[in-house]
């Protein structure tokens, strides 16, 4: 029950959000944050069960045939993640109330945020992998809506679109991977899934799942969408694009560790991707000047560390990953909020324009310093423990990994200094004069969350016993002992070096920025690839859908003939030559008449001869019916032919001149005509060469008089045996009559305005 409520509360609050905001005004964000806090408390209540190893579960049928079951399982790692989500969620809701103030979009923003929260909790506690996917996609969509909050601004729209496309492409890959995995495993529940590394398609599933995780967690080469997503209001960035959503990829990989971790490709794939991402971050940070961009790059870097740690996959690295995840949420969330407060106060996030805010905004700055220290990894902050263990695990795997993490830690120092020191203590700028401290609703969350980094850092025992230990255990890995102080060892040395060199880099930041090469713009490359594909599609469509009715008909006929002839050859359908020999001489003569008239029709250069030849062709068909002893059919055909000749003669009077096609087109048309003729001959001969059963017409003949009470069999068939067809055809005639009425009106209009349209060969403007 508690577990369902953790999802239901945010969803319900989200549904009423726009209305509640209108009714409650400034109280609404407080209500929303209270909702998040309730979820947090409920999760805490479920924690003991999870730690003791019998987590709460929910199972409801949804679409069991395809594996989708509403199955939730609140194990320790899931609760760990959900606690972060709801805890930070509380802070964000409260902060958003102050940050957005009287902005009329507050209702919808908080609504989407709450919906996102529900989706993200769903990702955390889902046991069924497709249920996880359902939640996963909802996070992508809500993220899109939130990034586009300022949708009147074009860059916001572009950022939202790219974030959606990248994460959705990853999502589609993930879906493929999960379906393969689930079908192979025979179960769709994570908790029941065995180690799958020796299954035949495990590697394929792994690659697809990695695509999903890397796009979501902004790993190389999909990192570029995250800086673009910074167009969102700061509370959104703090929540989705640093503390929670981007960790979904990391979370998924951690969940997959016990299933696919034994694959030979697991470690190299994750570690190399992480390393590439780290290098990207290291190169990008020195040139960045926007507070949020700086923080976004460091987030990408932190995610890369976590991905790498999962890739290494030892007890120590998995423990380090969990600690890092928590530490990062505790410092990156507040840092974003600090950046938001600064932006809120002075309306700028450019470090070249900020400075001297320490006196004006003391609480904000102190919070920032605490969070920054954790990010830099100074004892006794939680960030320090995280970095120590990450370095240690990296060291055990390969020295170069530890080295890379050290350089990345340097970049973090640079980021922290840029984000906190420059605005706080830098040269006082003009902007600072009207700065003001943020309101309480914004200060409290910042202070609480960032001080958690300090509290948890000084109590590693608590952390190990109730939070990190159980979480790691539920990933089927043995947690290693946590402590703040390990004595003098190599990780500590590296850590110290990183701080020192990072400080140096900050001092020489201008030179460093000039030294670092400008990176190719990820969004631009993505756009080029994407637009290239769309352009390719447009060209293909221009060729296919080019507006020419002649070409449409030609394509259809040629493709049909080619298909038929190929199947004829493949199936080796027999042709009985005797059939041809049995054709009576009169039929051959009539066929010759028809053929000659057809050729004459095609070659005619004036209208009247063409119509006359067409009429002759029809008469040939009439003769054929006569020869086959079907006088009633012949009579009907005769009337139809006369009528069509008359109507054609009248009709052509109103149409534009006869156009003689160019020679080269004529050759093509002759070829098509020959192809069709040949194919139809083959089809007819094949049909005549085989008989499967006696036709039912014998029954019709036998029963026309006795049961249908008519001497004319054709008549009885038309009006009785198959009277329903005739009934349908009568309706067709009725519709035609109705249509003529409509058409006569519209054709008169048309002829006046645009006679060209009637030829059917106008261009459809393909845009």
């Amino acid at each position: 029950m508690l577990l369902e409520l953790t999802l239901a509360i945010p969803v319900l609050l989200a549904v009423v959000a726009p209305l509640a905001w209108r009714r409650l005004g400034a109280w609404w964000p407080r209500v929303a944050s209270l909702g998040a806090l309730t979820v947090f408390v409920f999760l805490l209540l479920m924690l003991p069960d999870a730690i003791l190893g019998h987590p709460q579960t929910v199972t409801r049928e949804w679409m069991p045939q395809l594996g989708v079951t509403f199955a939730l399982r609140a194990d320790s790692f899931g609760i760990f993640m959900a606690l972060i989500i709801s805890g930070i969620g509380w802070g964000i809701m409260s902060y958003a109330g102050g940050y957005l103030g009287k902005d009329e979009r507050t209702g919808s923003i908080t609504g989407w945020l709450l919906l996102f929260m529900a989706a993200m909790i769903g990702v955390s506690v889902a046991d069924n992998i497709l249920m996880l996917f359902v939640s996963w996609e909802m996070t992508s969509f809500t993220s899109f809506m939130l990034i586009g909050t300022n949708h009147r601004d074009e860059e916001s729209r572009v950022g939202a679109k790219q974030a959606l496309l990248v994460t959705a492409i990853g999502g589609l890959a993930l879906l493929g991977g999960l379906v393969i995995l689930g079908r192979q495993a025979g179960t769709w529940n994570l908790s029941e899934m065995p180690a799958m590394h020796d299954h035949p398609f495990a590697l394929g599933a792994f690659v697809l799942i990695c695509l999903g995780a890397f796009t979501k967690s902004a790993q190389f080469p999909f990192s570029f969408w995250l800086p673009g997503a910074m167009r969102a209001p700061t509370p959104v960035s703090a929540y989705l694009h640093s503390a929670t959503m981007v960790k979904a990829g990391v979370f998924l990989l951690a969940r997959m560790h016990h299933v696919l971790g034994e694959l030979p490709a697991w470690t190299p794939t994750l570690v190399i991707t992480a390393a590439a991402t780290m290098i990207l971050v290291i190169l990008a940070v020195p040139r960045a000047t926007d507070l949020k961009a700086l923080l976004a790059y460091s987030t990408i870097g932190a995610l890369a560390i976590m991905v790498g740690l999962i890739g290494i996959g030892t007890d120590k690295s998995m423990t380090a990953m969990v600690v890092f995840l928590l530490a990062h949420a505790c410092y990156k969330g507040p840092l974003f909020l600090v950046a938001g407060s600064i932006d809120h106060a002075v309306h700028s996030r450019d470090i070249r324009r900020l400075g001297g805010l320490a006196q004006k905004m003391p609480v904000t700055i102190v919070t920032g310093v605490i969070a920054g220290l954790s990010m830099v990894g100074i004892p006794p902050m939680l960030g320090f423990i995280a970095k120590e263990y990450a370095l240690g695990a990296g060291m055990n795997y390969a020295p170069w990994v530890a080295g890379l993490i050290t350089v990345l830690a340097m970049a973090f120092v640079l980021v922290a200094a840029n984000v906190i020191l420059i605005p706080a203590f830098g040269k006082k700028r003009e902007l600072a004069s009207h700065a003001h401290e943020a309101p309480w609703s914004m200060r409290v969350p910042m202070v609480v969350i960032s001080s958690l980094g300090l509290i948890l850092g000084v109590s590693p025992g608590l952390l190990e016993r109730y939070i990190v230990g159980p979480a790691v255990t539920s990933l089927e890995v043995t947690p290693v002992h946590l402590s703040l102080w390990h004595g003098w060892n190599l990780p500590l040395l590296l850590s110290t070096a990183a701080v020192f060199w990072g400080g140096l880099a900050f001092w020489k930041r201008t030179a460093l920025g000039a030294f670092c090469p400008a990176l190719p713009s990820g969004p631009r490359i993505f756009d080029a690839i994407w637009n290239g594909t769309v352009g390719f599609g447009r060209n293909v469509t221009r060729i296919l859908q080019n507006g020419s009715l002649t070409m449409y008909l030609g394509t259809i006929v040629v493709v049909a003939c080619v298909l038929l002839l190929s199947v004829w050859i493949i199936e080796a359908a027999p042709i009985d030559v005797d059939v041809v020999r049995k054709v009576p001489i009169i039929d051959v003569i009539i066929a010759a008449v028809i053929a000659v008239s057809a050729v004459v029709t095609a070659l005619a250069r004036r209208r009247l001869p063409a119509i006359a030849a067409l009429g002759a062709m029809g008469m040939g068909v009439t003769l054929f019916f006569l020869a086959s002893q079907a006088p009633d059919l012949a009579l009907t055909q005769f009337l139809v032919e006369i009528l069509s000749v008359v109507i054609l003669v009248i009709g052509f009077r109103h149409l534009p001149d006869f156009r003689i096609t160019k020679k080269r087109y004529q050759i093509g048309r002759v070829a098509i005509a020959v192809l069709v003729g040949f194919t139809m001959s083959v089809m007819t001969l094949v049909a005549l060469s085989t008989d499967y059963a006696a036709p039912i017409s014998a029954w019709h003949g036998d029963n026309a008089l006795t049961k249908g009470h008519g001497h004319n069999v054709v008549n009885v068939i038309l009006v009785d045996f198959r009277g329903f067809d005739t009934f349908g055809e009568i309706i067709v005639l009725g519709i035609a009559a109705l249509g003529v009425g409509v058409l006569v009106g519209s054709l008169q209009k048309l002829r006046k305005h645009n006679p060209e349209m009637l030829s059917g060969n106008t261009k459809e403007p393909v845009q």
Binding site: M63, Q65, L66, V68, S108, M138, F141, R157, L165, L172, L175, G176, V179, I180, R183, T533, V534, G535, G537, V540, T541, L544, Q545, G547, L549, Y552, L553, T555, A560, L563, I570, E571, A572, A573, T684, A687, L688, S689, T690, Y692, A693, I696, W699, N703, F721, F724, D725, G728, E729, I731, I735, G739, V742, L743, S746, L750, M757, G760, T762, Q767
Partner: protein, 499 residues
């Protein structure tokens, strides 16, 4: 209950006839049209319940025993298709009542609408191939007239292409019928199925297969498959909104339905035919979605997406396993509702924003958030975003592909999903998020009337319900698929005595 079998054709016929008589009394005509739609839905629901318990409903027209007369047969698939036809028709009639100014609507609209429904329903329930042809004729002629109702130049241009290419389909269909009759001497689908099964057993099915392929081409044109779809993008964006919503929901689906019948009943076990269908289906998915990506008109984008989605369904038929067919049936149900709804919502958005060209639209999210939400439901569903119906439909096709290890099909289906998402959100970004290009853009209160949204609300509710109740619904689709894969059940129901 078997007396009701012809009702899906007769009720629309009566409605159409009465609406024709009432053509000078607009209000009465609309009212009667809606009543007729409601009765159609009721009848369809009755039939669905009935078929769920008794598997097949069979009725011989004129009481001439099969295969000598014409037989109407309703199985699970036919029943659900009839229901969806009635729903789409009702939504279209409803929309035309509340959202089009009286002058914009030709008095011939309502009669033609019901004639069309008659043809479509007839195509679903007939058990006779020639009668299917007759139903196609009814559909073709009524839809052709509906295309040109307003007599605009572009409508006539589109209609010429529409009618010529569809007549090509009719011609091919008729040729195939002639050849088949020459070989098999019967037109009753069940009867042909017996012959086909015997021929396969005796390894002399080659000539029948050739005939089957000719049918396939005819139906593929109707279904809008690659490379036969030209008539669709040429015409669907031209008529008034309720007409194109109706077409978008139903017309191609008749082709898909005929392909299902062809490959499960008329020519079962046709391995080569399945392979051709699979390749063409994948090509349809891809060309459709590529066509959509480059368009800038709302209905042009949506039209190309019909093609792409037909590809998914055809792939389901071609894979042909119980899972794949069930997924195909599920896809059909989901798609009819979603696609009609998108055309309706798109129509309102275009009407409010003053243009269908995305470059000239904008500002709708701020101007009318509710309309935005109503767009998002079918758009997300079509893009396959959970928990909406389209996700489960896509999941079905992907699972079926994975089951058979057809990796290239799975890859194509997933990649198509990405582009579908792209164009759905292109409409969202351009028509809803972006500012309207004219600065003085404001909605008139009568444009923004809540009443206009009712049909879309109803369809959106159905979409959400399909998503939430996908389990039981998919169960129904599985049963329908099993029924399709067991042609002997159908044969027995039709020709019971003779078998």
């Amino acid at each position: 209950m078997n007396g009701l079998v012809a009702a899906p054709m007769l009720v629309p016929l009566v409605t159409a006839a009465v609406c024709t008589l009432l053509r000078r009394m607009a209000v009465l005509q609309r009212g009667f049209s809606l009543v007729g739609s409601a009765v159609e839905i009721g009848v369809a629901l009755l039939l669905l319940v009935e078929v769920n318990s008794s598997d097949y409903l069979v009725s011989n027209m004129g009481n001439w025993q099969a295969p000598f007369g014409i037989t109407l047969v309703i199985d699970r698939l036919a029943a659900v298709m009839v229901l969806l036809t009635a729903l789409t028709g009702a939504a279209s009639a409803w929309y035309s009542w509340i959202s089009l100014p009286k002058s914009a609507l030709s008095p011939a609209f309502h009669p033609l609408l019901h004639f069309l429904l008659m043809g479509v329903s007839g195509a679903f329930i007939t058990g006779d191939l020639f009668n299917l042809y007759v139903c196609f004729e009814i559909m073709l002629l009524s839809s052709f007239v509906m295309l040109v109702l307003e007599g605009k130049a572009e409508q006539t241009e589109g209609a010429v292409k529409y009618v010529v290419l569809n007549l090509m389909s009719s011609t091919i269909f008729l040729t195939a019928l002639g050849l088949l009759y020459a070989k098999a001497g019967t037109l009753n689908m069940a009867d042909i199925s017996i012959l086909a099964q015997e021929a396969v057993a005796e390894h002399r099915a080659g000539p029948l297969r050739l005939g089957g392929l000719l049918f396939m081409v005819a139906f593929a044109i109707k279904a809008g498959m690659f490379p036969f779809f030209f008539w669709l993008p040429a015409s669907y964006h031209t008529p008034s909104v309720p007409v194109s919503a109706l077409f978008a929901g139903l017309l191609t689906k008749v082709g898909v339905f005929a392909l299902i019948r062809l490959h499960t009943l008329i020519m079962p076990n046709d391995v080569l035919g399945h392979e051709i269908l699979l390749v063409l289906g994948v090509a349809t998915m891809i060309t459709g979605v590529l066509g959509a990506a480059g368009q800038m008109g709302i209905r042009r984008i949506l039209s190309f997406h019909i093609i792409s989605q037909v590809g998914y369904m055809v792939v389901g038929i071609a894979i042909g396993t119980p899972l794949a067919l069930a997924a195909c049936v599920f896809y059909l149900c989901h798609h009819i509702v979603v696609k009609s709804n998108l055309f309706l919502v798109g129509g309102i958005a275009a009407d409010c924003a003053g243009s269908e060209d995305l470059r000239k639209t904008g500002g709708m999210w701020l101007a009318w958030p509710l309309l935005g939400l109503l767009y998002l439901v079918p758009a997300l569903s079509l893009s396959g975003i959970p928990p909406f119906s389209g996700f489960f439909a896509k999941l079905g096709i992907v699972s079926a592909g994975v089951e058979r290890e057809l990796w290239w099909v799975v890859a194509a289906a997933l990649a198509t999903g990405a582009f579908t998402l792209y164009s759905m959100f292109k409409i969202w970004i351009e028509a809803f998020w972006k500012d309207h290009p004219s600065s003085g853009f404001r909605l008139a209160p009568e444009q923004r009337s809540f009443v206009r949204l009712w049909p879309m609300l109803a369809l959106a509710a159905i979409t959400i319900a399909i998503g939430l109740m996908s389990g039981p619904l998919f169960h129904f689709c599985e049963e329908a698929a099993l029924q399709l894969l067991n042609p002997n059940g159908y044969i027995h129901a039709v020709l019971g005595g003779r078998l």
